[in-house]
């Protein structure tokens, strides 16, 4: 079932179209990454989906009905709070505005603080929080009212590596019962937890990648060979169908018909080339992303 559907979403500022004819189908319990260079319109798209700015054209539906704002949890790119507040006070305000009752708010706010690892910091004012803590609190307020859909604008870009892994783990957990759409520049993360990736370029969605499907039929024909000395290419070239010399000591390529990886290795041993790494090379989202953006 499509829990969030956008059709022909367009946003114009004067003559400039920030987002053009954008389509999206987000199914239940699905995780989609929104990729693209800066200024591609990711944030504008998320703002439209969150109902913060009205689209110039297009419709946003949920189960073929008009979207109810209560079912959405939104995390802006730079979460901003009231510095004089305590975390629990902010969650109380947020919960009340989302129509929760006082009792559920009390239970739920401790729960989300625990989930985001802020339970220890609940006696501190938000003004004293670090950037990473604010990001976590932003995530806490987004999931506070148990929305079915989570829209996250670069949830990890302000975090240190440990914080990034934490947030990714939380998202992995949330994925079990929520649909998640998040924009990111960290392609590795997108690859890890998303089912699909949507690449945007100058306001348009240019490519829909099905990461799961991709992983299934990874062609294992490409091999990566790293050696300790520069490779004498001439001796190896006749084994390769296609060869990509990335560095003198690193080549990636597909082997010719009837040439097995073992034959390549034997060739190396015969020439007394020290091998540091040999393995099947999977096409990464990063490579694909660069192809799409530059192509």
């Amino acid at each position: 079932m499509t829990i969030l559907k956008a059709q022909g979403l367009t946003k114009r500022y004067g003559n400039h179209a920030a987002v053009k004819d954008f389509d999206l189908h987000l199914r239940e319990r699905e995780c989609i990454a929104l990729l693209g260079p800066n200024g591609a319109g990711k944030t504008t798209t998320l703002h439209m989906l969150a109902g913060l700015i009205p689209p110039t054209a297009g419709v946003i539906l949920s189960d073929n009905k008009i979207l109810n704002r209560d079912t959405i949890g939104f995390l802006p790119q730079h979460p901003a709070f009231f510095d004089w507040m305590y975390p629990l006070e902010y969650l109380l305000l947020a919960g009340t505005l989302s129509g929760m009752t006082k009792r559920t708010i009390k239970e739920r706010s401790l729960q989300v603080l625990e989930m985001t690892g802020l339970l220890e910091a609940r006696k501190q004012k938000i003004g004293s929080f670090s950037g990473g803590m604010k990001q976590r609190l932003g995530l806490a307020q987004a999931i506070m009212h148990e929305p079915k859909i989570l829209l996250l604008d670069e949830p990890v870009s302000a975090l240190d590596p440990a914080g990034r892994i934490d947030v990714m783990n939380i998202l992995e957990e949330l994925k079990k019962d929520k649909a998640i759409l998040f924009s990111t520049h960290v392609l590795h993360d997108a690859e890890q937890i998303c089912d699909r990736a949507l690449i945007m370029k100058s306001g348009q969605s240019v490519s829909y990648e099905n990461i799961k499907e991709w992983r299934g039929n990874q062609s294992s024909e490409r091999y990566r060979l790293e050696t300790s000395v520069s490779l004498p290419i001439e001796g190896l070239q006749n084994l390769y169908e296609e060869i990509d010399i990335r560095e003198p000591k690193l080549i990636v390529g597909t082997l010719r018909d009837k040439v097995t990886p073992n034959m390549l290795l034997q060739q190396c041993i015969r020439q007394d080339i020290g091998i540091r790494y040999f393995g099947a090379e999977e096409k990464t989202l990063e490579e694909h992303y660069i192809e799409v953006i530059e192509g």
């Binding site: 969150a50 109902g51 913060l52 700015i53 704002r69 209560d70 959405i72 939104f74 802006p76 730079h78 979460p79 901003a80 709070f81 009231f82 004089w84 507040m85 006070e89 109380l92 305000l93 947020a94 009340t96 505005l97 989302s98 129509g99 932003g138 307020q141």
Partner: protein, 258 residues
């Protein structure tokens, strides 16, 4: 209503934690008390200033209590108006610029609820501070000068309060248009000043203009009788406040809030 209460409560907590709840009434109290007290000590102050030739005799007529209170109001009208504008200029601008407004509005909140929660809080805070200060000024006037009747004091207070509400509304209104607090303060004071200038340029319509509120309340103190055109001013002011509030909500809703 629940949402309004939550936002309203937030405004008060904010005012308390940022100590606006302390400094604003204190400043207003200072401005209002200055007039009766400095008038009382004026002869002593003049005597002690040493740039008078020796043997100079100063004879100041002792003003009546009514005149002193009227002076208090005129004094407050200039300085107090500026203080109110400065206290209100940041209210929307700050939240909009730092992004907390956007985060708030990612939830189903009506623009009107948001604006009214701010407006109501500011109005109550300022009117409370003014009433207490005016009451204190009245108390000192009664002690230091002659008695002023309570009935004329409270009438003038109520009428002048309308001016304060108008200034708050104008400042919030400008705040929904501009993104810089300095600009908000400048334009708001400009609007207040141009109302006063307009009443000087076109005296025919002066009785309808809100700037007449000050004259009305001082007149009430001096004469203590109902004025004929009191209804006209009250109507235009209230209509103006309501119009500003409605336009502000409309404009805030459709313009880019963030």
């Amino acid at each position: 209503m629940k949402k309004f209460n939550a936002l309203f409560h937030k405004e008060w907590t904010e005012a308390w934690r940022e100590k606006k709840l302390v400094w604003l009434p204190a400043v207003i109290l200072l401005v209002t008390l200055l007039q009766p007290i400095s008038l009382y000590f004026m002869p002593a102050i003049l005597e002690n200033s040493n740039n008078l030739p020796s043997g100079a005799v100063i004879e100041l007529p002792i003003p009546s209590g009514n005149e002193v209170l009227a002076g208090t109001l005129s004094q407050f009208h200039t300085i107090g108006t500026a203080i109110i504008v400065l206290a209100c200029m940041n209210v929307i601008v700050q939240e909009r610029n730092n992004g907390s407004l956007m985060q708030l509005f990612s939830r189903p909140v009506h623009t009107g609820t948001y604006i009214f929660s701010k407006w109501t809080m500011l109005v109550l805070l300022h009117l409370g501070a003014f009433t207490i200060s005016y009451g204190a000024a009245w108390y000192y006037t009664n002690i230091l000068f002659s008695d002023v009747s309570f009935s004329s004091v409270w009438k003038s207070c109520v009428i002048y309060c309308l001016w304060i509400v108008l200034i708050i509304t104008v400042t919030l209104f400008v705040g929904t248009f501009l993104r810089r607090s300095g600009g908000v303060a400048g334009i708001s004071i400009l609007i207040a000043a141009s109302i006063a200038i307009l009443s000087n340029i076109v005296p025919d319509i002066a009785i309808y203009l809100p700037s007449e509120l000050l004259n009305l309340s001082t007149e009430l103190l001096n004469k203590n009788d109902g004025n004929t055109h009191i209804g006209a001013v009250l109507t235009t002011t209230v209509v103006l406040i309501v119009l500003l509030l409605l336009t502000m909500i409309k404009q805030f809703e459709k313009s880019v809030k963030f």
